[in-house]
């Protein structure tokens, strides 16, 4: 029922990214690889944490195992009106140690031996080992750039309804989607989610919807919750993140939301693995949601301010990349931007890496030769498709202007070197 160490032992992207991080540190590279902000969380949230810390003894002792009451209540209140369903704070929500642990509970609780799970690529790489750990089999469907048009935005990457439908078998248990998507930045449109929902309902499938970047949408793109579509609340687990919501990834407060009859199995996994999450951090996130509830839709809302700030950083990075002849794919949402590197010819003098995918070699070369750290995008693909998508690298633009300025300098120098050849 729980998979064994041999299966656990697959190195995942985090392990690889540790390797890249070490390399980046060694070469003192400007790090646009790591997926977390290098600026501070908003003051109101750090103040909320400090207030919780100086609260009475209960703030430092165990709280309710499935979620601190103040937090589940504020999440239920906040999201009920967005999902269009009365969310029961105690039945329909499980608080976890980051969205990562919510994903773990979902796969462990709901995927049985022999089940197939459809994963839309490119995917946050932990999905695959978690499917395998639960005894399931991962089946992949890639987002593909639209044919015939210039591919300038993440919105130009689409899922084929026929291709998706063709992957469904009698063993299919669930579909995993991530919107806004890491690494591509795609924000699924309502029609696209409807297409997925129709298949879920037709074939009685579950849907795991990883929505950690839900507040980060740009250019008027609208984040739609698949759980809000008709017939989907009862079969969807929606995963969220306090860390991504409030730019405090190190707090590790996440949650899963869904119908109680599904959540209860996840609660059992949680109870027998972690049991409780840290109290003070949950209290602080609860206060954050209370504030946002009051300010929702207004200019003072952090959920307006953060995407507005990142919108410009995204533009800034994109123009720096274009300046050196790279083709960025403008993300409609999220923390990341991918860039097509096929137009740059590089002579990898490093024969050690010749068996690796092109983008992996490029990333290492970029760190060593240019002092700029990124992540290779083929790491987010299945083995069967990774060679198809090995000409992209991923940048994180959720960084201080100074970091992006430093990156811009590197790219300017690079393009000057190119033009001088």
């Amino acid at each position: 029922f729980f998979r064994k160490v041999k299966v656990y032992g697959q190195p995942n992207l985090f392990a690889k990214s540790v390797e890249f991080t070490q390399l980046a540190a060694e070469y003192k590279a400007v790090n646009l690889g790591q997926g977390f902000p290098d600026f501070s969380p908003p003051q109101f949230i750090t103040e909320a944490f400090c207030k919780a810390v100086s609260g009475g003894p209960p703030m430092h002792q165990y709280t309710r195992a499935f979620g601190h009451p103040a937090l589940v209540q504020s999440l239920a209140k906040f999201f009920s009106r967005i999902v269009g369903h009365d969310i029961d704070p105690f039945e329909d929500i499980l608080v976890t140690v980051g969205a990562y642990q919510a994903l773990f509970c979902a796969f462990q609780a709901l995927i049985d031996e022999g089940d197939e799970v459809i994963i839309v690529e490119p995917f946050f790489d932990c999905y695959q080992p978690m499917v395998v750990m639960a005894g399931g089999k991962a089946v992949y469907v890639p987002l593909r750039p639209k044919e015939g048009t210039a591919v300038l935005s993440s919105g130009d990457w689409v899922l084929s309804a026929e291709e998706l439908a063709s992957k469904i078998t009698p063993h299919t248990k669930a579909i995993v989607i991530n919107t806004p998507n890491n690494p591509l930045g795609k924000v699924y449109k309502r029609e696209e989610l409807q297409m997925i929902a129709d298949l879920c309902i037709k074939h009685d499938l579950l849907c795991f919807s990883d929505e950690v970047y839900e507040w980060l949408t740009y250019d008027g793109a609208k984040h739609v919750k698949i759980a809000s579509l008709p017939g989907m609340w009862e079969r969807t687990v929606t995963i969220g993140s306090g860390g991504k919501t409030f730019s405090a990834t190190g707090w590790k407060v996440g949650w899963a939301m869904g119908s109680g009859h599904i959540l209860k199995y996840m609660k059992t996994i949680h109870q027998n693995s972690i049991y409780h999450c840290a109290t003070a951090a949950q209290e602080a996130v609860a206060q954050g949601f209370e504030r946002e509830h009051e300010l929702f839709g207004t200019p003072q809302s952090y959920f307006q301010q953060l995407p507005a700030m990142l919108h410009h950083r995204r533009e800034k990075l994109a123009s720096s990349l274009k300046g050196v002849g790279l083709q960025p794919i403008m993300p409609e949402g999220g923390y990341f931007m991918i860039t097509d590197i096929s137009s740059i010819a590089v002579d990898f003098k490093d024969s050690d890496t010749k068996d690796e995918n092109y983008d992996f070699r490029f990333v290492k070369w970029l760190i060593k030769e240019k002092g700029l750290a990124t992540i290779p995008v083929s790491a987010f693909y299945s083995p069967e498709h990774s060679k198809e998508f090995d000409k992209y690298i991923r940048f994180c633009f959720v960084k201080e202007n100074s970091t992006l300025d430093a990156a811009e300098e590197i790219l300017k120098k690079w393009s000057q070197n190119e033009s001088s050849h």
């Binding site: 985090f14 400090c50 003894p57 430092h60 165990y62 978690m130 190190g250 590790k252 972690i274 840290a278």
Partner: protein, 421 residues
């Protein structure tokens, strides 16, 4: 998929074990009964005394440092693993590699989970000493293994007065080791009895581990709560044991901050790396600011070792007074306390009261153990909550432990006095 989910649920939490069902149902029933504010709660195993102010201050300070609010190293925040390596290097009398021999987890509970998942395989047997912290059994089962029980036995002819009056029968223990035995779990100081395994007892266990080439999982979360005249010995320090032992510790129990949910596993690299892999695939990393604050608390106390202000010893001194006061109160009430050598729980023999509990019998469970009925009666009639000790034993040992309830004495004097009144 409803059928398979139900099967999964059953496999996960019941597996034909009345014990697990009892525990699960008991927790639910107990929580609602004891939630009545007029009930003095000496059941729950966490402090209502405040943690030392310097750890709270360290946490508030950590949150004000930008970098401390973002992801840290997955296997443990470097300042924390270094602090653990220093403190425990001193305690063990051997160098401990902070990066290879230490893993930070979500509480001692998370360490137990990572250990079971990382090192126990399907078909293994794991020896558990009764009474045991209740999560050991579901965790062993979830790893696909079989729990094998051996009870602590009361020395005959002794009216039980201290936890030292319980012992492990050497022949009985030896008989439990088979070719399938993967590990033995020990908990010292023990929850709920408070027994501290003596060096001789640990040597006996060690000899068997070496003879049968088994692992030892040593849950030492209460390691600092040792009362006068007692000594806590780490089984990992006995010859031949470092290489086969995982030792578990807890920040929550060390600094009276159970709500911080930070713990650690210490052991040889060839074992710890499997726990690290589990961590990487379940929740990836623990919260940063909490780890930073615990690191500071450890370093501060490291400087104070041997001095009266050192929390590693001062907390135990404070608790000894509470222990003795509680024992006196219990005796005055006509019951017999079992004075614990360590930990913050006390067993109380209620048989002298000869309490008639016939009106506590429920229709659906004629078989309910005496201590369960007694606790319900005590909550209803005496407004005092405790935990029935048979919750910590297997079916075959129920008869030996059903005259005991467990009280927690890490409570402010006001709480203890409330009960006295």
């Amino acid at each position: 998929w409803n059928d398979s989910l139900f099967r999964l649920f059953r496999a996960c939490c019941v597996v034909a074990s009345r014990l697990l069902l009892c525990m699960f149902l008991f927790r639910v029933a107990f929580t609602s009964l004891a939630a009545d504010p007029s009930v003095v709660n000496l059941g729950q195993g966490f402090p209502d005394i405040p943690p030392p102010s310097y750890v709270k201050e360290a946490l508030a300070k950590a949150v004000s440092v930008d970098r401390m609010n973002q992801y840290t190293r997955g296997f443990g925040h470097p300042p924390l693993v270094k602090a653990l390596s220093q403190v425990y290097g001193h305690v063990y009398g051997r160098p401990i590699d902070p990066f290879k021999e230490v893993l930070v987890t979500v509480g001692g509970y998370g360490s137990l989970f990572s250990t079971m998942q990382g090192l126990v395989e399907e078909g293994d047997e794991v020896i558990i000493i009764e009474p045991f912290f209740d999560c050991y059994v579901p965790m062993v089962r979830m790893a696909g293994a079989k729990p094998v029980f051996i009870p602590l036995r009361l020395k005959s002819g002794k009216k039980s007065i201290t936890s030292a009056d319980w012992y492990l029968d050497p022949d009985e223990l030896s008989s439990k080791f088979t070719s399938k035995t993967k590990a033995i779990i020990i908990n010292t100081p023990n929850n709920p009895i408070g027994k501290i395994l003596t060096r001789d007892e640990l040597q006996m266990i060690a000899d068997l581990c070496i003879k049968h080439d088994t692992l030892c999982f040593s849950d030492e979360v209460y390691e600092w709560l040792i009362y006068r005249g007692q000594q806590h010995v780490k089984i990992a320090t006995l010859p031949g044991m470092w290489e086969r032992t995982i030792t578990i510790g807890s920040a929550g129990k060390t600094f009276s901050v159970t709500g911080w949910k930070l713990g650690w596993s210490i052991g040889p690299q060839h074992l710890i790396r499997h726990l690290q892999t589990v961590m990487q695939n379940t929740l990836y990393t623990c919260p940063t600011p909490l780890q930073e604050a615990v690191a500071q608390g450890l370093m501060l106390n490291m400087e104070l070792i041997g001095q009266p202000e050192c929390y590693f010893t001062s907390l135990a001194e404070e608790l000894e007074g509470k222990r003795d006061r509680m024992a006196a109160i219990v005796q005055e009430a006509g019951m017999t306390p079992v004075i614990p050598e360590g930990g913050y729980f006390m067993l109380v023999d209620v048989s002298a009261l000869n309490q008639d509990l016939s009106d506590m019998k429920t229709d659906d469970d004629d078989d309910e153990a005496y201590d369960y009925k007694f606790v319900k009666w005590m909550i209803k009639k005496k407004k005092l909550a405790a935990i029935p000790v048979t919750a910590f034993v297997s079916d075959q040992s129920t008869k030996d432990f059903e005259k005991y309830i467990r009280l927690c004495f890490i409570k402010v004097n006001k709480t203890l006095l409330l009960w006295l009144h």
